[in-house]
């Protein structure tokens, strides 16, 4: 149906624009947060001058991201005499596209009824009828599995880049990246299995919907309250998967220059950097979806608020949709801020420590958490039956 195509087309454009903007803003957040934490002013040089005036718009250095983007787009695309030009050319895309595509299965809002939402436009209600859409680019029931499938492809990008660059530092970075991403992906998978046991589904829309309720009459039924231990493990492993400090060994500048993308310049290098920043947003969005109730506020439903004691506040559909989208992005930004805070707070691991940490510490903990969850779910189900 043409209506379905239009709605999903709008969702796709929205998702791409939002991710690009968030990626751009996060480059500024990282600099500004570093400046604040180290008592500097920081990131305040780039500005836009209003033409024919001396008025400079600095806006706390927000334009640094734009300046970076322009620099990378306009720089000479220098290429090394690489082993394999094809692998060298496709590697940045292997890193960038899967990261963007993961967002397709993340619900950024609840149910959208376009006929009601755009009710004030003449004829829109009749055209859309009573169709309703989950606010998600690709409404697939295998949501969480798709996240892991695409995560696996991103590893290939780092390895291809390092191998094809014909540089020993790059190759070492690629070997490190491959080992690290495979190790920590296992931990992420195991931490999430506990949630799958509890919710009984891998469909992210369904997982978020189940978090809209309350536990014991007053605690929001968010994943973090049901699986607090898994939430911590997930965050640690996700930071490692994204190869950021304290886990940035594949691109440790004091050892490997820039690791697997040492030989990349201009926008190809920009794609790696951009993928890293968008990955922060994706981790934050996944954490929000799995552990922080997604687009839900406590006691919030698709019709408004249902407070403890049965007190109900009904809200119009337009307001609910806007509130849900805002809540989702506020949570995502807060999580991004936290992840960047970690990045500027901790020193770097040694590489053997990094792998030991995954296999000897996080993996056993994730297994213990999973075993306890399985027994608890079984006991609760047996008691219920």
């Amino acid at each position: 149906m043409i209506q379905d195509l239009v709605v999903h087309g709008v969702f796709i454009v929205y998702a791409v624009l939002m991710l690009m903007t968030v990626g751009l803003v996060l480059t500024w957040v990282e600099r500004k947060q570093a400046a604040i934490m180290s008592d500097r002013i920081g990131a305040n040089r780039a500005y836009l001058r209003i033409p024919f005036t001396q008025v400079k718009l600095i806006w706390w250095g927000l334009f640094h991201g734009l300046a970076d983007g322009l620099k990378m787009l306009l720089k000479e695309d220098w290429r090394p005499n690489s082993y394999d030009r094809m692998a060298y050319a496709v590697a940045p895309w292997f890193a960038f596209v899967p990261v963007m595509a993961v967002f397709a299965v993340i619900p950024f809002g609840g149910e959208l009824v376009p006929g009601t939402f755009f009710g004030w436009f003449e004829g829109t209600s009749e055209w859309f009828g009573d169709r309703s859409y989950a606010m998600q680019v690709a409404p697939l029931d295998a949501g969480l599995l798709i996240v892991f499938a695409l995560g696996g492809i991103a590893v290939i990008g780092a390895m291809l880049a390092g191998w094809s660059s014909n540089n020993k530092f790059s190759l070492l970075g690629a070997v490190r990246a491959g080992s690290q991403m495979i190790s920590y992906e296992l931990v992420i998978g195991l931490t999430v299995v506990g949630l799958i046991l509890i919710y009984g589904t891998v469909n992210l829309v369904s997982i978020v919907e189940q978090q809209s309720g309350v536990l014991f009459g007053f605690i929001p039924a968010w994943g973090i309250f049901l699986q607090p231990f898994a939430a911590i493990l997930f965050l640690v492993a996700a930071q490692a998967e994204n190869q950021r400090i304290p886990f940035d060994l594949p691109e440790a500048e004091s050892e490997l220059i820039a690791g697997y993308f040492t030989e990349y310049s201009a926008m190809k290098m920009g794609l790696f950097m951009f993928a890293e920043f968008i990955h922060i947003a994706i981790i934050a969005a996944l954490f929000t979806t799995l552990f922080l109730g997604g687009y839900n506020l406590p006691y919030m439903t698709d019709a408004g608020f249902l407070l403890p004691g049965g007190f109900e506040i009904a809200l119009p559909h337009v307001l609910v949709v806007l509130l849900q989208i805002t809540v989702f992005w506020v949570k995502v930004f807060l999580m991004c801020g936290f992840l960047i805070l970690v990045r500027w707070s901790l020193p770097r691991f040694r590489y053997d420590q990094l792998l030991s940490f995954a296999w000897r510490f996080l993996l056993p903990l994730a297994l213990i958490n999973l075993a306890i969850t399985a027994v608890a779910v079984w006991a609760i189900q047996a008691a219920g039956a």
Binding site: Y83, D84, A87, A142, L145, A149, G152, I156, G178
Partner: protein, 182 residues
């Protein structure tokens, strides 16, 4: 022609191109990339046919796990081995014989024109829930057995490498002793 048919043809062409490229490319990394192309195209075809679980597993297991390890291994291959620069593989004759056999079987199948039997598939047969229940009820034991067999094979392979390496070390030590005497 519907848009679904167009997508199906595009991905089928992608899968075929990748498969043919695997025959003709000589560099291991390029062959691996062609295989990834074929697998992703196959996954897209499964997704197009509504079998999302199979599509996801195609990418998750074959691309995300198997191919990642293959690329990891190829990345660490000895760069001094330039055998891939030769135009044909030493196994050219065996490969051509295999190709002819495969083509013969395919052409025979097409000429006989046996129609595919119509299968009555319920609409949610390939949803994650249905698939998981069938898998756990019917195939879980086989799956676990295969995992154990794979583990045994991995341990055996490691043992063989270890024995060979020790043999090389002993030979090197003996050669060194011989040099010392000389």
């Amino acid at each position: 022609m519907t848009i679904e048919t167009v997508f199906l043809m595009v991905f089928a062409l992608g899968a075929l191109t990748g498969a043919v490229a695997m025959f003709f490319l000589r560099h291991p990394m390029r062959v691996a990339l062609a295989l990834i192309g074929t697998m992703v195209s196959l996954a897209a075809i499964y997704a197009q046919l509504g079998m999302h679980v199979i599509a996801v597993f195609q990418v998750l297991i074959y691309v995300g796990a198997v191919m990642v390890f293959m690329i990891y291994a190829i990345m660490l291959l000895d760069v001094r081995d330039r055998s891939f620069t030769e135009r044909f593989s030493p196994l050219l004759v065996a490969g051509l014989a295999g190709l002819l056999l495969l083509l013969g079987v395919l052409i025979d199948g097409l000429l006989r024109g046996q129609p595919f039997p119509a299968v009555d598939v319920p609409p949610d047969a390939f949803s994650v829930g249905t698939f998981a229940i069938v898998f756990m009820e019917q195939f879980w034991v086989y799956f676990a057995l295969t995992a154990v067999l794979l583990l045994v094979a991995e341990i055996a392979a490691s043992a063989v490498i270890d024995i060979r390496r020790r043999g090389q070390d002993v030979a090197a030590a003996q050669a060194e002793r011989g040099n010392d005497r000389g």
